[in-house]
Amino acid sequence: MQRIITSPRNNWQKAVENLGFGFHTTNVPYWDESAYYQFGMDEVLFIEKATAELWDLCLGAVQHVMDNDLYGKFGIPQEFIPYIERTWTEDHPAIYGRFDLCYKNGQLKLLEFNADTPTSLYEAGIIQWFWLQDFDKGKDQFNSIHEKLIGYWKYLKNYLYPGMLHFTCLKGTLEDLTNTEYMRDCAIQGGLETKLIFTDDIGWDSDSLTFVDMEDQPIKNIFKLYPWEWMLSDEFGKQILEDRNKAFWVEPAWKMLLSNKAILPVLWELYPECPYLLPAYFEEGKLTDYVKKPLLSREGANIVLMQNHSLLQQTTGDYGKEGYIFQELFALPEFGGNFPVIGSWVIGQEPAGMGIREANGLITENTSRFVPHLIG
């Protein structure tokens, strides 16, 4: 893995905007093609293999949580447990997830799993692919995200209810809309009939006890870019349990176990021999160098890094009331003041590609940059 400085394309902003990528720059640059990461094929195969193994372990961990009734560790409300277990036992459709990995000195370690609402899908699947077309189209890239998404939607079509597949995200956020519309694009190409409805606009029909869209048509299949923990605490959360259509929500509710940091100590307890896992615990005091993570934090909020029991770095935010886990510190590698984290995608049941986000410090926050990669 090398970081190589290069010249951005002339008028690169126009190039990415032509792809519908409107959030390439906010207050700080987000899409950054002034550098790229080069991997050897052996490294990519290593990341791919680790991703497949981690996915298998995660499925085992979900079953373990259910078998041993560990929901209390995850802060999940009691009344939703039967529903979560139903989505698991009935194998409700799921499509994707992103492992955040630290790759350093030949070792690869899982930092967390964005299993419910992973973002940067469009950057990883589309923007960096087109960058490589311009940069050197003869080169390869660990990125079959697009074809795997289309292929898996095609496969899922037989497992969804007949008819419309709705797509939903919050209003007023171009990033979320882009990711959602991209996913919808892939579903359309997979042969599905789709419709967009913003999460804020979803209706509940108290006569028919069903969720409805803006035209009061029933929602039976819906892809959501909106986290389960927010859904459950929303006013309509309990309506999910009453829904007579028993709509398929994609990702399904069992994914909230994997997107919760509480899965990290569970994984470690189950698979301490796994080379891709870091020691992680629910209790403080078992580690000397560690990261304290809120169960539900997003974008690196409320993270505390401790080294030899002294504060190394921390971020602020609104998370933490839900509880914490403690994970052994495995600091991100540094490339001239840049600290990359690998986002390795699982689509369907398979590794599908990666995207790299760089931060200026050891904690990857919402000011991180997306940097493309290629296989050298």
Binding site: G20, L177, D201, I202, V212, M214, E215
Partner: protein, 113 residues
């Protein structure tokens, strides 16, 4: 043919057209903060006020409607911006007395993860 790790060909059907225009400034929409919008044929007129756009990118499509094609006809479903009051940002179906909206979406501003 040499086996590669990347997608061989990419075609986008929806997203480019849907999103490429979202960040294009439109002078007409920039003029003034107050806008009177009628969201659909059954809703009353309502006043939308949008003084502090959370994102400049979104400002440009604040009042752009979104909808779907059905049997060849475009049907408006709502507006991109939450500046339109929920009471007026409703669908075109008149039989909506038993439908309540706004029960999801209070969780945050973006799901970025």
């Amino acid at each position: 043919m040499k086996r590669t790790k990347k997608t061989r060909h990419i075609q986008l059907m929806l997203i480019t057209a849907a999103l490429a225009s979202c960040h294009q400034p439109n002078k007409e929409w920039q003029n003034g903060n107050r806008t009177y919008v009628r969201s659909d044929s059954t809703a009353p007129y309502s006043r939308a006020y949008y003084p502090h756009p959370g994102s400049l990118l979104l400002w440009y499509y604040a009042f752009r409607p979104y909808g779907n094609y059905y049997n060849g006809y475009y049907r408006r479903a709502g507006y991109y911006s939450d500046a339109i009051r929920p009471s007026s940002n409703i669908g075109s179906n008149g039989f909506k007395s038993s439908v309540v909206r706004g029960g999801f979406g209070r969780g945050g501003f973006s799901v970025s993860s």
